[in-house]
């Protein structure tokens, strides 16, 4: 990969990668760090990563960095934060997209990741499996469960409204 191709990869995929990580962890600062870290890793391997595989490399790297970050944060939180009861939303939803966003944030990380890769980036099951290190059948199961959860969540909110 040349420097020009690297810069084009920044143009083409930095936004998508940022959205993917941000939707997963919900923290813009951390999402920026993950994206920056992923591109730095790509830069260090610029000679060995083909430009056609740069996107896949970025998402794989970002996913694993994100998982590490979540685990690290979880350990920290477990140590110094007292148990907090899950907050119930009090303000009304402003449309379906907001309901969905709320529902997505409640999905387990694995399910959220696969469904975001599927819908945001249009990856196939085998590609998602490659990025996440899951098996293809696990990916299908997680997507099935995620869809089911999202559908039920939408239904429950609509019922309340």
């Amino acid at each position: 990969m040349t420097i020009a191709e690297f810069n084009k990869t920044v143009d083409d995929h930095a936004d998508g990668l940022y959205r993917f990580i941000l939707k997963n962890i919900g923290d813009s600062e951390n999402a920026r760090d993950v994206v920056q870290d992923s591109f730095e890793k790509l830069w260090t391997r610029i000679s060995s990563v083909d430009s056609g595989k740069a996107k896949s490399y970025l998402f794989t790297t970002a996913f694993h960095t994100m998982i590490d970050m979540i685990r690290k944060n979880k350990r920290t939180c477990d140590l110094d934060i007292e148990k907090v009861e899950p907050q119930l939303r009090t303000e009304p939803y402003n449309g379906l997209s907001e309901i969905l966003e709320d529902a997505v944030s409640k999905l387990p990380v694995d399910q959220r990741t696969v469904v975001l890769l599927r819908d945001y980036e249009g990856y196939r099951y085998d590609e998602i499996a490659q990025i996440t290190g899951l098996s293809e059948s696990q990916v299908k199961v997680y997507i099935f469960r995620a869809r089911m959860f999202l559908k039920n969540y939408i239904g429950s909110i609509e019922t309340l409204i």
Binding site: V10, A14, R32, L100, F144, G155
Partner: protein, 344 residues
């Protein structure tokens, strides 16, 4: 004998099914031989069993018994979610999708569920963009940045240098500068315009090979001698002056090289390698300096170096005629040569 007219049929049935042991089979045969009417029945039965259709014979309604999967009946309450998700994931064939839709038509309470499944497809918010994108990008090397100008710069550098060389001692040459005038007239650099008055035949040709290594071997001089280095910054600066905005050019002179002021009247080049100095603003000094250089004398030796502006290697060298006098002055870059024929 246990076999009689009342029970013979059971024995006969077992015999026909090959389930009768040999002793009883023999007794049955004896019994049938003693009862010819029954033996006749037995023969008829045996003949019919041989003529019965084989098990491979097609069942006339077999096709109607087969089940296609999934069919309308296959979509049912227990698996309709799977079918809905498969449909929105794009995994169902058209005909299966039609079957699902027919099922939903028959079960209107499922229509709302299917609609909700369709709503679970997430769409990215394109208003969200990575805020530090430009900072992620890496600077292109100087070579790439100048890519578009490189060939122009190469030609310009070589031509400009040659024009200056010719201008140094106009009295020694005759001829005309037909090609050069056309090129240089668009530029306002007075120094180059003055060079247009020189009288030498000039041709530009593609360098047949990158460098004339045979000449290099004959007359190369040590590159650390100051006079061999002097012309390289000169060429760079001339080329820089041809750029639309020369101030944007990188400092073209090798950092360690600074030319000393020339003593009036001295036509030898004086140069040294003193302390480092930025030389991007040395163009006027260099132009003044070169007027004093006897380039033809210097060109008797090879000048070989690297032009930092055009990022190309440049050589000066000369050729000799049969009498051993200099006949041509040649300036060679990677892709082009400029040959000046000297009239001795």
């Amino acid at each position: 004998m246990a076999i009689n007219r009342l029970n013979y049929e059971e024995y006969l049935a077992d015999y026909l099914d090959s389930n009768l042991d040999p002793v009883l089979s023999a007794e049955l045969m004896v019994f049938l031989s003693e009862n010819p009417d029954l033996e006749r029945q037995y023969r008829e039965l045996e003949a019919r069993s041989h003529s019965m259709p084989a098990e491979t014979s097609p069942c006339p309604h077999k096709e109607s018994l087969k089940k296609d999967f999934p069919d309308v009946e296959a979509v049912q309450e227990s698996n309709v979610d799977e079918f809905c998700i498969a449909a929105i994931e794009g995994l169902l064939k058209d005909e299966d999708r039609q079957r699902l839709l027919r099922y939903i038509d028959l079960h209107p309470q499922r229509a709302e569920d299917f609609k909700r499944y369709e709503q679970t497809i997430l769409r990215p918010d394109f208003h969200l963009s990575f805020p530090g994108k430009e900072m992620l990008k890496k600077a292109l090397p100087i070579r790439s940045r100048y890519n578009g100008f490189r060939n122009i710069l190469r030609i310009a550098a070589v031509i400009a240098a040659l024009v200056m060389v010719i201008a140094i001692n106009p009295g020694e040459r005759s001829g005309k500068l037909a090609y050069m005038n056309g090129f240089l007239s668009t530029h306002t650099n007075p120094w180059i315009e003055a060079a247009g008055k020189s009288t030498t035949n000039i041709e530009i040709r593609e360098t047949p090979s990158k460098f004339a290594t045979d000449i290099e071997k004959k007359v190369a001089i040590a590159p650390d001698k100051p006079e061999t280095m002097a012309y390289l910054p000169l060429i760079s600066n001339i080329a820089a002056s041809l750029l639309p905005n020369p101030h944007r050019a990188l400092p073209p002179v090798e950092k360690s090289l600074v030319l000393q002021p020339v003593i009036p009247g001295n036509n030898e080049l004086t140069a040294s390698l003193p302390e480092r100095k930025k030389t991007g603003s040395d163009i006027p000094d260099l132009l003044g300096l070169v007027r004093k250089v006897d380039i033809w004398k210097t060109a008797g030796k090879i000048v070989d170096g690297f032009n930092y502006l055009t990022e190309s290697r440049i050589q000066f060298y000369s050729t000799l005629d049969d009498q051993g006098k200099m006949s041509d002055l040649i300036i060679t870059a990677e892709a082009f040569s400029v040959v000046s024929h000297k009239n001795n």
